[in-house]
C-alpha cells in the first residue's frame, strides 16, 4: 500500500478485512499483552516498515491490523493515557492538560495530583509532629479498566502507565509512571557541580548549578544534595546530605564519599543508583531518596552531574505501587530503577548541561532498564494461565522531543554537526522498540491477544506562539501596561494582571479560559455572554497568522463543551487550541505569561512535539487480531480489553469495543 493510500484509508493495513468479526482471531481469550510505546508516530512507523526497518511491527500488522488511532483533544500524554485507562473522553476523568489553572488565583498548577499538607501539629522541642499526615490525591477521576477486571477476578499488571500517580486504590499490581515526581515534588531537577565559573552562574530555571571549588589536593569538600523540605521543624528548610569528591586527574577517576558510602567512578561514567537518607529527626526519622552520579569531566574541568533525587522503590516515601510492596518486590528482582515519571533528563539537554551524546547515553540506559523490568514482568506473564499485562515504554516519546531537530533541516535549531553524528538515532529508537516486539513474537503463545499502541504521534516544533499576547492585543486580556516591552509573568508581575477587566486568558500547553463570573475568583463573563464570546474568540484565533511566513498558526480550536462529557468539565479550558504543524504554545504562554512578540523561533533542543491539533498527530494501533472499526479511538481501548475478557457492561465508559 502506498503512503498516500495509507493516509486515505485512515491507515488500516490488515492482512484480512479489518471488518471481520473477532471470532476469526484468537480463540482462547484468557491472556492479553499491551505494549505502550509512547509517542510512536504511525506515519514514521509506516515509512520504516516500508523500508524494511521494523520487521516485527510489519509481522504483527500482517497477522492483524495496523491503523492510525484517534487520540484525545488535546493530544497530551496524561490526557490520552487517561482516556485509555477509563475508556472515556476527558470530561469523564477530568484531565485536560499537563498544566491546569487554579480558578481562585489564576496560577498554573500541575494537573495530575494535589498535595494536601500535613496539619494539626504538636510541638516537641524544635519539632512539630503532624497529627493529621499530609496526602497526595490523584486528580484522574473515572473507573480504571483494571478495576473491572478485578471485579471478575482477572489478574492484571499495569506497569508505569501515565496518569496513575498516586496509584488508584486497587488489588491489582500497578506501579506509577508519568506524573510521579522526584523527592522534592517536582518533575525532576538535576544538580551540577562545575569548576567553570561561567557555567555555574548561568541563569536557568530551575537552577541547581553550583561552583565546584577543588582544594590543592583536588578534593571537593563541601558538596551537598538537597532533599525534601523538613516539615517537622519550624520554618522547615530543605534537608541536605553532604558529600566529598576525591579527584584523581592522572587516572581520570574520582571517589565520592556520600552518606557513609564510597563510590568509585571514572570520567564519562555513571554510578549505579546510590540510596541516600535525608534526616528529618536525627536518628529517628528520615526520607530515602536515590541518585546517580555522572562524572562528566575530570581532565579539562570538573563537571559532576547528579540526577534528580528519585523516590526509592525499596523504601518509598510516598505510595508508588499497589500493593505497596510491589515496587519493592520489583526492585529486589531487577535492582533499583527510575521512579520519576519522565526519567530521561530532557532539561539537562535543553539547558545545554548535557550534549546530545550525554543525553543519548542516559536515554539508552533508561530504555535498557525498562527492557530489563519488562523481561521480569513478561516472564511472569508467560508463566500464568490467564491475565493481563500492560507495559509502558517512554523512551520513544522523550527521544523524539529532543532529537527532532537533528532530522529537520528547516528547524531553526538544526545543528548540522550533531545531525551528522546522531541523526540516525530517532529512527534507531523505533528499531529498538521493534526489537522488543521481536522477542515477544518469538516467545508468546499464539492464543494470546497482543496490542502495540501509542497515545499520539509526533511532529516538528519550529515556532512558539504566545496566546496571551494575542488575547492582550485583541483586548481580551487586560494588563497594567499599554504595550508589552518585556515578558510579563504571572509569577513575577501578578499585580500587572487586571482580572476585573479580563475576559479571557491562556494557561497550559493547549488551554484558553474565559474569566467566568462565579467560577474564577474575579470573573466577569456571565453565562449569557459565554457562548457568543467563545465563538468570537474561536473565529479570531483561527485567523492568527505567523507574521514571518503568513502561515495560520492554529488549524482548529475546540470549544470543549461541544466535545466533552460534562462530569468534570468545570476543570477544563473553555477552548483547546489545535496548533498547526510546526507551531506550539510558548513556555511563557503555558504559564500564563505574555511576551512582546506573539510568534518566535523555538531555539531549543526540545524541538519535536505533539501538543498540537490532534488530527495532525494520530496515535498508532497494531494488533494480532482484526477489529470492527475503520478508525479506532484511544477511548475504545478499555472497552476492547474488557470485551476480550468477556466483560460487556462498562457503564462508566463511552468508548466502543473494537471486537
Amino acid at each position: 500500500m502506498k503512503r498516500r493510500d495509507f493516509i486515505k484509508s485512515a491507515g488500516t493495513i490488515a492482512a484480512a478485512s479489518p471488518f471481520m468479526n473477532f471470532g476469526a482471531g484468537i480463540k482462547n481469550k484468557k491472556k492479553m499483552l499491551i505494549l505502550g510505546f509512547d509517542g510512536m508516530d504511525p506515519l514514521i512507523a509506516y515509512d520504516m516498515i516500508q523500508r524494511g526497518e521494523l520487521p516485527n511491527l510489519k509481522k504483527l500488522a500482517q497477522s492483524g491490523v495496523f491503523s492510525m488511532m484517534r487520540t484525545t483533544i488535546p493530544p497530551q500524554s496524561p490526557v490520552a493515557w487517561g482516556s485509555f485507562i477509563t475508556g472515556a473522553d476527558p470530561g469523564k476523568y477530568g484531565l485536560f492538560d499537563f498544566v491546569h489553572r487554579d480558578p481562585e488565583s489564576y496560577f498554573p498548577i500541575t494537573s495530575g495530583a494535589e498535595t494536601i499538607p500535613a496539619s494539626l501539629n504538636i510541638k516537641i522541642g524544635k519539632y512539630k509532629i503532624p497529627l493529621k499526615p499530609g496526602k497526595i490525591i490523584p486528580k484522574r477521576e473515572g473507573k480504571a479498566f483494571w478495576d473491572y477486571l478485578e471485579e471478575k477476578d482477572i489478574e492484571a499488571t499495569i506497569f508505569k502507565i501515565p496518569s496513575n500517580y498516586p496509584p488508584s486504590k486497587s488489588k491489582q499490581r500497578t506501579i506509577a509512571g508519568m506524573g510521579t515526581p522526584d523527592i522534592h515534588g517536582t518533575y525532576g531537577i538535576y544538580t551540577l557541580y562545575t569548576s567553570d565559573e561561567e557555567e555555574a552562574m548561568k541563569d536557568i530555571t530551575p537552577n541547581n548549578l553550583f561552583y565546584a571549588y577543588l582544594d590543592e589536593e583536588n578534593v571537593l569538600q563541601d558538596g551537598e544534595i538537597l532533599g525534601p523540605v523538613n516539615d517537622l521543624v519550624e520554618n522547615g528548610e530543605k534537608t541536605k546530605v553532604f558529600f566529598k569528591v576525591f579527584v584523581d586527574k592522572k587516572n581520570k577517576t574520582a571517589r565520592i564519599d556520600v552518606d557513609g558510602k564510597e563510590i568509585l567512578i571514572a570520567e564519562k561514567e555513571y554510578s549505579d543508583w546510590v540510596e541516600i537518607d535525608f534526616p528529618l529527626i536525627k536518628g529517628i526519622s528520615n526520607i530515602t531518596g536515590m541518585v546517580k552520579f555522572f562524572m562528566m569531566d575530570i581532565e579539562k574541568s570538573f563537571r559532576l552531574y547528579i540526577s534528580p533525587v528519585h523516590i526509592s522503590p525499596k523504601n518509598p516515601a510516598v505510595e508508588l505501587s499497589t500493593p505497596p510492596d510491589y515496587a519493592k518486590e520489583l526492585a529486589e528482582k531487577g535492582g533499583l530503577f527510575h521512579t520519576i515519571g519522565l526519567p530521561a533528563d530532557t532539561k539537562a539537554l535543553s539547558q545545554n548541561t548535557f550534549g546530545v551524546e550525554e543525553f543519548l547515553t542516559q536515554s539508552v540506559s533508561v530504555f535498557d532498564e525498562s527492557k530489563k523490568l519488562f523481561g521480569i514482568e513478561y516472564e511472569r506473564f508467560l508463566n500464568k494461565k490467564s491475565g493481563f499485562l500492560f507495559f509502558y515504554f517512554g523512551s520513544l516519546d522523550q527521544g523524539q522531543h529532543m532529537l527532532w531537530a537533528l532530522t529537520d533541516k528547516d528547524h531553526p535549531y538544526y545543528h548540522p554537526e550533531e545531525a551528522k553524528r546522531f541523526g540516525y538515532m530517532k529512527d534507531e529508537l523505533y528499531r529498538m522498540h521493534d526489537r522488543i516486539l521481536g522477542d515477544v513474537l518469538n516467545t508468546m503463545p499464539k492464543d494470546t491477544g497482543l496490542i502495540v499502541m501509542s497515545d499520539h504521534g509526533f511532529g516538528t516544533f519550529r515556532r512558539k506562539v504566545n496566546l496571551n499576547t494575542f488575547l492582550f492585543n485583541e483586548g481580551y486580556l487586560k494588563l497594567g501596561v499599554k504595550e508589552i516591552d518585556t515578558e510579563i509573568s504571572l509569577f513575577d508581575d501578578y499585580s500587572e494582571y487586571d482580572w476585573g477587566n479580563t475576559k479571557a486568558y491562556a494557561v497550559g500547553l493547549n488551554g484558553l479560559y474565559l474569566n467566568m463570573k462565579g467560577r474564577e475568583s474575579q470573573g466577569i463573563v456571565t453565562k449569557g455572554e459565554r457562548r457568543k464570546l467563545l465563538e468570537e474568540i474561536q473565529g479570531k484565533i483561527l485567523q492568527i497568522k505567523d507574521p514571518e511566513n503568513g502561515m495560520y498558526v492554529i488549524s482548529e480550536a475546540f470549544i470543549t463543551e461541544d466535545h466533552f462529557s460534562p462530569d468534570f468539565l468545570i476543570r477544563s479550558p473553555d477552548i483547546i487550541l489545535g496548533f498547526n504543524r510546526g507551531y506550539r504554545s510558548s513556555d511563557s504562554s503555558a504559564l500564563g505569561g505574555a511576551t512582546r512578540e506573539m510568534v518566535t523561533n523555538n531555539m531549543n533542543w526540545w524541538a519535536g512535539d505533539h501538543c498540537i491539533n490532534p488530527r495532525h498527530v494520530p496515535a498508532s494501533f497494531f494488533s494480532n487480531f482484526p477489529i470492527n472499526k475503520k478508525i479506532p479511538s484511544i477511548k475504545d481501548m478499555a472497552p476492547t480489553i474488557l470485551k476480550y475478557f468477556g466483560i460487556n457492561e462498562t457503564p462508566t465508559m463511552n468508548g466502543d469495543s473494537l471486537i
Partner: protein, 62 residues
Amino acid sequence: MAKKVKLSNENSQKADEIIAFHGYSSLEELIGNLIDSEYEKIKSDDDKDEQAEKLSGLGYIS
C-alpha cells in the same frame, strides 16, 4: 507580648473537644497550631515559588 483571647461558650466547648480528640496539651497549643496553619495559607509567595519550581521542571516548558 502575650494577648488574652475571649472565647464564647460554644467555641470553648468545641476547643475542649478538639483538644481531647487530638491530644493537645493545652488551649494555647491548639490556638498556636491554628495560627500556624492560617499563617501558612497566607505565605502565598513561598507557595508561588514552589509551584513555579514544580512546573519549570516539566520538559515541555523550557
